[in-house]
């Protein structure tokens, strides 16, 4: 352990469905500004772990601490207010709103009070910030179209941009590359690196795409059957025989 | 056909000849409950007016002018009735017929009053004619004139000391219940249980059970047609054996038809009935059945006789003028001998209330039978 206090501490999380242990004692920590990748074959418990951290399901045991505060079992709303953002495995945009409105909606609740927002300017003072993100994600040509009418890749970009709009301290990304064409994968990785540099938040990324994780994340965790099998630098994890066996032997 | 009617027809034809028919028709507007809880009452009333209008036109119209009758459906809703009244006035109605429901007429009569258009109603609530509206006229008894007759029957006819009351909680039922309470008290009869039921209620088991468990000597039922039928069926189902008395509705044709044999034995006072032992009413009954293939209830007679009152008074004043009409109605006496369409001798008072003979009826084997003719209140 280094001297810097960690931002997120996951301590011995377990989640059982009857006799099946989906997550079986996982612990790890994330330092400020760090990008952590979580890999593992299908059914290794990655998403269950994610949902336990994010308050979507209640873990059977274990705890999650964020900046030293116990956040286990908190609602998604409370987590969001503490500066934890996320993306979903499946597409989750506001289909009826324009791209720009999607981005503003993603950040407007983090400033001011509710009555204050009623009387705020229509763009809630976030128009410029939204335009910057639109620029960064190269969505300018579709900025005023309803998000639901765009292609899958474009919606994915919106989805990810939304998670970063409010500059959260921690973002959990659930398979950002799923369903994205290979050309976009590189762009995505560059975007994430750039966001990490400019905004300084910490990321946890679940991903199947090994290449993507290996190039993006300085620290990688490999999960198999609900347990952490290996943890460390990408190259080390990648060459770990147990990891190789778990992937190839499957 | 009646001799007088024939005479009238001939006279009418002669008068009507060429120029008269070319004149603009006299517009009569109907505001009637063709749907909703009052559908049965409103449809009958409407049919009664239509039949009268058809006859009047066949006989040359009123003052030689054809009568044009259009009716609108109030849906048993006072708000709609009010809108329709406005429409009738816009369309230049000479007289407005209806609505039948007291709740509706209480609202729509404000419109006809404002426009000074005479308005005949089938409503029986006492309040209608107590508002000093000079343009409102009845086609039937009020609850305040009918209920004393019912109370008298309960005292003298079935010699009951205590009576249970089952009534429907709407303007009609509530008004009747308050009135019968007063009348029973006046006759020294006690009220047992006081059972309120809902408009449109379907399940009467609890209500009937309460009546059954009471120690009253008879049950007075005052609900709308369908509810009366359901109550009678439930009373029969639970084996209620004491006399069942009503006012007008309980032994009406519709109730008897719906309740089937459960209606047998029920007794009710009625102001008007198609089974009245009078030649004018018999003639009406026959014509109505021929025209509509069903027997008219009291509302059909209300509409029919009401329309003939319009004709009689208009011919009396000799012009089509709503204000003069309303003035001529005050204290008017119309005899059935001169105007068979009014069915019975009738007198109107200053408020628009009417008085005439009435009947005590009983449901016997699926039919309403008149067991006694009661004299008018004013002719004690």
């Amino acid at each position: 352990m280094t001297a810097t206090p960690s931002l997120l501490d996951v301590k011995d999380i377990r989640k059982a469905y009857g006799a099946i242990r989906a997550v079986d004692g996982v612990s790890f920590s994330v330092r400020p500004g760090e990008i952590v990748g979580v890999i593992g074959p299908n059914g290794s418990g990655k998403t269950t772990l994610f949902n336990s951290i994010l308050g979507q399901i209640r873990p059977t045991s274990g705890s999650v601490e964020f900046s030293g505060e116990d956040i286990t079992g908190m609602s998604p709303l409370e987590l969001a207010r503490r500066g934890i953002g996320r993306t979903f495995q499946t597409l989750q945009v506001f289909g009826g709103l324009s791209v720009r409105d999607n981005l503003i909606a993603a950040a407007q609740e983090f400033s001011g009070t509710m009555p204050g927002r009623l009387f705020a300017k229509p763009d809630a003072g976030l128009g410029q910030r939204a335009d910057e993100m639109i620029e960064l994600f190269r969505l300018k040509h579709v900025a005023h179209l309803p998000a639901g009418s765009l292609s899958y890749g474009q919606q994915k970009l919106i989805d990810i941009a939304m998670a970063f709009m409010a500059a959260p301290r921690l973002v959990l990304l659930d398979e950002p590359c799923a369903g994205v064409n290979p050309g976009l994968v590189d762009q995505l990785r560059e975007l994430l690196v750039q966001l990490n540099r400019t905004q300084g938040g910490s990321f946890v990324v679940i991903e199947h795409n090994m290449g993507f994780i290996m190039r993006l994340c300085p620290h990688v965790i490999c999960m198999v059957e609900g347990k952490v099998l290996a943890e460390g630098k990408p190259a080390a994890v990648q060459s770990n025989p147990a990891v190789l066996e778990a992937y190839l032997g499957n | 056909m009646n001799r007088i009617t024939t005479l009238f027809a001939a006279l009418g034809l002669a008068l009507a000849a060429a120029p008269a028919l070319a004149q603009a028709p006299i517009k009569i507007a109907g505001l009637v409950e063709l749907s909703g809880t009052g559908a049965t009452s409103g449809t009958n009333f409407d049919n009664g007016v239509k039949l009268a209008v058809k006859e009047i036109n066949a006989a040359g119209g009123i003052l030689g002018r054809r009568v044009e009758y259009t009716s609108g459906d109030t849906q048993s809703n006072p708000g709609v009735a009010k809108a329709l009244a406005q429409k009738a006035i816009d369309d230049g109605a000479y007289v407005v017929m209806g609505p039948v429901f007291s709740g509706s007429i209480l609202v729509s009569m404000e419109e006809t009053r404002r426009a000074e258009v005479p308005n005949f109603t089938g409503g029986e609530a006492a309040a209608i004619t107590q508002k000093g509206n000079p343009y409102i006229f009845r086609t039937s008894f009020t609850q305040s004139s009918a209920m004393p007759k019912v109370a008298r029957y309960i005292k003298n006819g079935i010699k009951a000391k205590t009576v249970d009351i089952m009534w429907v909680n709407n303007d009609f039922g509530k008004g009747g219940r308050d009135m019968i309470m007063k009348s029973l008290e006046a006759e020294g009869i006690k009220v047992g249980v006081d059972i309120s039921t809902d408009p449109g209620q379907v399940d009467f088991s609890a209500a009937v059970l309460r009546a059954k468990q009471s120690n009253g000597d008879a049950l007075f039922v005052y609900t709308n047609e369908e509810e009366s039928a359901r109550a009678l069926r439930e009373l029969r189902k639970q084996g209620y054996a004491k006399p069942i008395v009503g006012e007008t509705v309980l032994t009406s044709q519709k109730v008897i038809e719906l309740a089937g044999e459960a209606a047998n034995g029920a007794v009710a006072h009625v102001g008007l009935t198609a089974d009245a032992p009078l030649p004018t009413v018999r003639a009406f009954d026959e014509k109505f059945q021929r025209e509509y293939r069903s027997k008219s209830d009291h509302n059909g007679l209300k509409g029919y006789s009401g329309m003939y009152v319009v004709k009689a008074i208009t011919e009396r004043i000799g012009k089509v003028d709503g204000k003069a009409f309303a003035a001529a109605m005050k204290g008017a006496k119309i005899s059935a001998k001169d105007h068979p369409g009014v069915l019975m001798d009738v007198t109107f008072d200053q408020n628009g209330d009417l008085d005439r003979e009435s009947f005590l009826t009983k449901a016997v084997n699926g039919k309403q039978v008149v067991v006694e003719t009661l004299p008018p209140l004013g002719a004690k």
Partner: protein
Amino acid sequence: MSAPARRAAMLVAIVAALAIGAAFLKRSDVYLLTLTMVYLMATFGLNLTVGYAGQMSLGQAAFFGIGAYVAAIALKAGVPFLAVMPIAAVACFVIGLALGFPALRVQHHYLAFATLGFNVLVYLILRNEEQVTGGTYGISAIPRPTILGVSFEGHLAYFHFTLASLVALGALLWWLLRSPWGRAFAALRDNPIRAESLGVNITAYTLLAFAIGAACAGVGGVYYASLVEFIEPGPFHFSTSLMMLLAVIIGGSGRFYGPVVGTIIIILLPELLRGSSHEALKFMQKWYLVFFGLAVVALMVWLPGGIVSLADRFRRRSTS
């Protein structure tokens, strides 16, 4: 001219045409138009709840009724109209919060059930609590407003007053929907789970959307009482709520002018048919609700966006 400017110009033209044209209409037609506008206040509010915030409300007529009864009682007691309106709106808003809070706390889709039950309850109370509501006799002789010495007693004056109020209410809603609140409503309609993860307090916003919708119905109720000058429980039965919901949906829920089309179909059109004496139209009148019901089913199958979304379809087809 830009699209928004063109739309604004069209709106002004329509409102002006209505305001001027009413003087040439018959009294009963003016009444009908006013009635349609009064219902429109309630359906505008319902559209906020259903269309913009995505919550099923089956109790709009209850709030309409509460507004009407508050108005009837207060107006008869001599409270000025301009004071009655906010009282009714606030009453409905607060009752909406009180009803919605426990319902939403448990499960979000229970709002529909709770509102339906609430409507039945309100109806029963209106009918049975005679001392306050007049029971089935209702309350009659409700006065029309006089504001700053100007009387709106006449049918045309009241029509203009209602039209102006409706435009004001519409403008208020328009402004609300353009504010960040409107965006939050749409977000929770489109994707409540995502919205919550982005810090949108979905319970609070749902509650607000519902209560604001209820308040609009309350305002509509005030105008209704004063228009008809008589109220009884009948018009506030939950079947009216269903019709209002259908008005919003067939018009186009979540589209600003959707309720206008829907309310015309539900209130104005049947009454116009009823008034006609033409044989073909009489036939239509009799079968109107049959066609209407079938049209609702067909609309759900082929055009779930409602009638107003037809315009979008044509536009998209012509541009692509």
